[in-house]
């Protein structure tokens, strides 16, 4: 798979978790209730997972549809939600499994693995909760944690999105970043399969 090679070139921690690979590796990686019933899903470029070189566009808010730049993100503030987009601008919003959250963090004392995946002090993770697949769209300000609005799982953005509260069974997969003139780009595929994994 060429995708794996590209991804691995930039970040040693990356795995290739594109839809094609997940399906190829067998259904064990996809829970029975989340598996696609359509065999040809992976051919739709809006449905495949983030690819190296993709940029991001805001899902909502005042900047909806605009390209995400590292300078726009508030330090230690709430995450923003975005979808990856290919260099032609085609947004990969065909599957909600592509939802990504980005946050700018104070990198002091941050875990080395987390730092390795960051660019311009910005970290990116899957925006899909590992518990039941809800969007991780809220911010627990007093604990500086990502918060899933469905069932209250919380993740620490500075420690690889490890679970710090709630029912989620595993961290949010990281999406390694790089930066080009302040525009945040995908440096490698997700570090783990996204979504619910039974």
């Amino acid at each position: 798979m060429t995708v794996r090679n590209k991804a691995s070139a930039d970040k040693a921690t990356a795995c290739d978790c594109s839809r094609r690979v997940v399906l190829g590796a067998g259904l064990a990686l996809v829970p029975w209730w989340a598996a696609s019933s359509k065999a040809d899903d992976e051919t739709d470029p809006t449905e495949i997972l983030p690819q190296v070189g993709d940029h991001f566009v805001y899902l909502a808010g005042d900047n909806e549809g605009q390209v995400v730049k590292s300078a726009d993100l508030v330090l230690d503030g709430p995450q923003i939600q975005a979808y990856p987009a290919d260099p032609s601008g085609r947004v990969r919003d065909g599957s909600r499994l592509n939802l990504v959250i980005l946050a700018r963090i104070d990198t002091t004392g941050v875990a080395p693995e987390t730092l390795a995946n960051a660019a311009d002090g910005v970290v990116a993770y899957s925006g899909v909760c590992t518990h039941q697949g809800c969007p991780v769209n809220m911010w627990a300000a007093d604990r500086s944690a990502f918060y899933c609005s469905c069932h209250g799982s919380e993740y620490n953005p500075k420690q690889g999105a490890e679970v710090v509260a709630g029912p989620a069974p595993r961290p949010l997969p990281a999406l390694p970043l790089k930066s080009a003139d302040g525009v945040l780009l995908v440096a490698a595929g997700f570090t783990a399969p996204v979504g619910v994994q039974n």
Binding site: A34, S36, L99, M138, W139, Y147, S149, G195
Partner: protein, 573 residues
Amino acid sequence: MKKLMLGASLGALLGAGIAGTAYSADYTPVTDARLVNPEPQNWLMTRGNYKGWSYSPLDQINTGNVKNLVPVWTVSTGVDSGHEAPPIVNNGVMFVATPYSQVMALDAASGDLLWRYKRKLPPGFSALHNTSRGVALYGDKVFFPALDAMLVALDAKTGKVDWEAKVEDWKTGYYTTMAPLVVKGKVLVGVSGGEFGVRGFIQAFDAETGKPLWKTYTVPAPGEPGSETWQKPDTWKTGGASTWMTGNYDPATNTVYWGTGNGSPWFGDQRPGDNLYVSSTVALDGDTGKIKGHFQYHQNESWDWDAMNAPMLMDFQDNGKVTHGLVSPQRNGYLYWLGRNPDGNISYVKSEPYVPGNVFNSIDPETGRPDVNLEHKPVTGKDVSFCPGLWGGKDWPFEAYNPKTGLIYIPSNENHCNHMEGKVEARVPGQWWTGVAGPDIHFTVDTKAAFYGELQAYDLNTGKRSWRQLYPNSMMWGSMLTTAGDLVFGGGTTDREFRAYDAKSGEELWHFKTNSGIIAPPSTFEVGGVQYIAVASGYGVDPATQQNLMSELVGWNADVPQGGVIWVFAVSK
């Protein structure tokens, strides 16, 4: 296994020509007449009958022998999360829906698995509540609303998909969890999504083909009756009034009664006006879906107090005369008696609080409109507390009514409150949109309270409480079943117990510790002359969230084991 008690009714069953024998050979089609007058041995719909009583005339299991109730068979559902569906039984065939959009068909007497339907949900799909509250039966089909807002018709004999119909686009925040209501060949469904800014509706599909027949929104569009209660432009488009529990039906007037949910977002000052038909019971024409009447329990809903449960249809005494009425213990903490008028209009009769609260100063005796204490009405930009909290005096679990005792059995919770501050937030379709983030919804309890969960029995006619059972160490999330054996069955507590109570005195007569916490409605049925009690045990969803909070507040064990098992009990000889 001990020998099971055989009743005298086997001959009667055979005589009626509807006793189940070989399943695949002669599945008994469900007809309109059977839904209007379900046989005692069957449990053909979620609440047992169109009136919504959760009552069975079976009495083989009774106060004298319930102590000998033993498990006959069990089966694992293979999934976790909150199991909220009753076993539906049609002449020896049982259908149970489970979380994650699964339906199991079983031989009701032996427990043999006949078939299983597992829906493949779309990639990236999620739901706030991954549950199902059951299936509906008609003809030779089983109707199942899957989580992804799709109505699926299954062949009752094989489990094969007969047709599928789209109810709504799940990506916009709609999902479906309730059991459908079948009315004269139409399958009626409602939608969940009140936390996602949906606009509620009830939709009817042709049972045979899946063709959509009518769709009635529970929030009127501009120009429609009630639209004047939405004073701010466009707020109606995202106003809530979801329809996430099954309605009840009056065949005499061809009227469907359906409950509606909270307003969206939660804070009423962001959508000024009374906001019809939020937190209401609506009365619909069974053929056309036209709204014939309504009753709104509280205006400009701001407490997440859904009025999701349809009221029970029953006649009661009011000032010496019999009233064709509706009775409903509401999430707002009041027990309501309403008039069920022949033209479909709903009139207010009276109400009484069944749990303490601080929100209503009084209720207008003529209209039923509460006078709200604004100090306890959540608003934008100010932290406000209110009691009972957002889970209410009771949430969705079913009350039950026993015509032999004249008592209504209400699973309820006390000594809890919430406080929260609303914010104006941009809506992202398909995402949480209540005006308050999860971490900022503050749940509080009286940490010195003598109890939290309870089961209460109220006299239908006098409105007086007859008895109650208090649970100091648990909330109560159990739907109740009552029978002509003068019994009430239910779980609902975190100690995993399934209990039988004396329906007249409230005395606990029997209990059994199951695998998990029980939040599903029990049902009862008879096969081969033996009466059985069935229930799914599988804890999760909101009770689990609340238990986590109680763990922080009063130290309860947050670990209530999950994983679904269907239990079937009978009396040993």
